[in-house]
């Protein structure tokens, strides 16, 4: 069982964002970059499958050289191999380009199952896993919170509004992982040491047979802004029962919210 896990290198969720001088991008200079939290569930799931069934876990990312940090983190958790898809032509990659890069790379790697995170925090696209599956012509099951594998047959639980869907699929396929699927492990000291020695394969556009001209983003960025600050609110005062009465009145008369 060979598992390919897509990981994205992202600013952690504590990050406070600023608009960069160009007015188009964010200044993330002070951010601490980490493995996308949802991708940790994907790595963990890959490792559990390997422990049960043998085979290898390969982690892959599309990003700059700094994304090596997240690949090392996944290797330290126990992944066997890592692939960095990095090229100046990939710098502005949107989800559609990212998926095409990943598909080109996946075609060169042995894999029975592809795991991704539910979504990449920051970009908040929730697309790449699905795009990748469709490009590869294999089934996609998203937002998965439970997984049972029997031979090549999979029973999956996925989160939908107001309930859970039970979906049956078979390998090969793409699964996007949601919180609840497992508890990601922390790398052990031994894992961290071992990760330092593991090799990271680097592929450029040419290695993947990709023409940079085809990777232009589908939408052009025109402006980046922070949300307007919320107007100062009213902190009520007085006896609690009177405050509650006033609150309901304000919600009804002033805010028209009830």
């Amino acid at each position: 069982m060979n598992v390919l896990v897509c990981v994205k290198h992202v600013p952690d969720t504590e990050t406070r964002v600023k608009v960069a001088a160009d007015g188009l991008h964010l200044d993330l200079g002070e951010a601490n970059w980490v493995v996308n939290p949802y991708d940790e569930y994907a790595v963990e799931q890959g490792l559990q499958l390997k422990e049960k069934l043998g085979g290898e876990v390969t982690v892959i990312t599309v990003g700059g050289d700094d994304a090596t940090k997240s690949l090392r983190q996944a290797l330290a958790m126990g992944a066997d191999k890592a692939v960095l898809c990095s090229d100046p032509a990939f710098e502005d990659a949107d989800p559609w380009s990212t998926a095409r890069i990943l598909a080109a790379a996946a075609a060169k790697l042995p894999c029975d199952l592809i795991l991704s995170g539910k979504h990449g925090v920051g970009g908040d696209n929730q697309q790449v896993g699905s795009l990748l599956g469709q490009l590869m012509g294999i089934p996609v099951v998203t937002v998965v919170t439970g997984m049972d594998l029997e031979g090549t047959s999979l029973m999956l639980k996925r989160e939908v509004e107001g309930g859970t869907e039970v979906v049956k699929a078979s390998l090969p396929c793409v699964i996007s992982c949601q919180k609840g699927l497992n508890e990601p492990r922390y790398p052990s000291l031994k894992g961290i040491m071992a990760a330092k020695k593991k090799e990271i394969t680097a592929w450029k556009a040419a290695d993947l047979g990709l023409d940079p001209a085809t990777l232009a983003p589908s939408f052009q960025l025109k402006k980046m802004e922070l949300p307007p600050p919320r107007p100062a609110g009213k902190i009520l005062s007085g006896e609690i029962p009177d405050q509650v009465k006033e609150l309901v009145k304000l919600l009804h008369d002033e805010a028209k919210a009830i």
């Binding site: 964010l26 559609w96 925090v121 908040d124 509004e161 960025l221 402006k223 919320r230 902190i235």
Partner: protein, 325 residues
């Protein structure tokens, strides 16, 4: 621009979010001198065309087939792609619901076009521009589609109004070409959570509880308030991690990002990851016993007090107001 809207139904009922999307589709078509159509899939769903016509669909492509009785991204992906081709869609609109988010990328990848997720604003003067939150709402990006290239969008529910703009809503039977073998990932069953209220992603009122709730049994006071207001119950991650409530209720950067008309935060401090998920709510009420809690910085109205005293009184007052009205 020719705009095609995927209209989502469950159990034969159209989602409100789909009517919102249809209204956006109509506006986009009008602003660009084009036309708007809808596609609806299911079994026995042709009757839904009327409501879609009322919201602005000139044509409604109907795929009425047992193959669509149960949602699958395989069958729906093929059929919506087919409808897009038949109509010659230049813009493809979905709601950013669980189904829309699962389906949209399957369709756009099939068509080889770009997709923009979770759009919350559209400008149509002097070219078409779309606005969407990133970093769960910590920032907003404005983007333009590449001229002349078709694209897809998912639209955040509860953001765009439903408008009346009656059009013919002419039913066109969709020659979808889907066969049973196309469905590779099969939904075996749906387990609906017992006695659940609305999902936070769809609700216009959310009553949310955090670590201040002290335990799972106390969520019933929030449920009572939510029920009284026709809303949903949300939670902070601290409450979810404590095992008091399931993750599907979590609001925030690694939960659901919501913009309801009213968000009531009870015993939630207002950590950056939580604020990212809810600070675009129209009205925010904070109930917290700590006057220094950061949640008060984003609150429209705040009560500094014990939620166990405030919330039941709140429920009573809402009841009384409804009875009086």
């Amino acid at each position: 621009m020719k705009v095609l809207v995927f209209a989502e139904q469950r159990d034969g009922k159209l989602k409100k979010a789909s009517l919102e999307a249809m209204s956006v589709g109509r506006d986009l078509a009008d602003a660009t001198g084009g036309s708007a159509a809808a596609v609806v899939l299911g079994q026995g769903v042709a009757g839904l065309a009327e409501a879609l016509g009322k919201a602005g669909a000139e044509k409604v492509f109907v795929g009425d087939d047992a193959l669509f009785a149960q949602y699958s991204n395989d069958a729906y992906g093929l059929a919506v792609g087919k409808a897009a081709q038949v109509f010659g869609a230049e813009a493809l609109l979905f709601s950013a619901t669980a189904m829309g988010k699962d389906l949209a990328p399957k369709v756009t990848a099939r068509l080889g076009i770009g997709l923009l997720s979770d759009v919350t604003g559209i400008v149509t003067e002097g070219g078409v521009l779309f606005r969407r939150p990133i970093y769960a709402g910590k920032a907003f990006a404005t983007l333009a589609p590449q001229s002349g290239k078709p694209f897809g969008l998912t639209l955040r529910p509860n953001v765009f109004p439903v408008k009346d703009s009656p059009k013919a809503g002419e039913v066109v039977s969709l020659d979808h070409g889907v066969v049973p073998g196309d469905i590779k990932a099969v939904v075996e069953k749906i387990v609906t959570a017992q006695g659940e209220l609305l999902d936070v992603a769809e609700a216009n009122v959310i009553v949310s509880g955090g670590r201040g709730m002290k335990g799972p049994e106390n969520y019933k006071i929030l449920e009572e308030l939510a029920r009284e207001m026709g809303g949903a119950v949300g939670a902070s991650r601290a409450a979810v991690d404590a095992g008091w409530i399931s993750h599907s209720h979590q609001v925030g950067q690694t939960g659901k990002v919501v913009s309801p008309g009213l968000y009531i935060a009870c015993g939630i401090s207002g950590a950056i990851q939580h604020l990212a998920g809810m600070s675009s709510s129209k009205v925010i009420v904070a109930i917290n016993k700590d006057p220094e809690a950061p949640i008060f910085k984003v609150a429209t109205y705040g009560i500094v007090g014990d939620l166990f005293e405030v919330v039941p009184l709140f429920t009573q007052a809402v009841k009384a107001m409804k009875a009086g009205a």
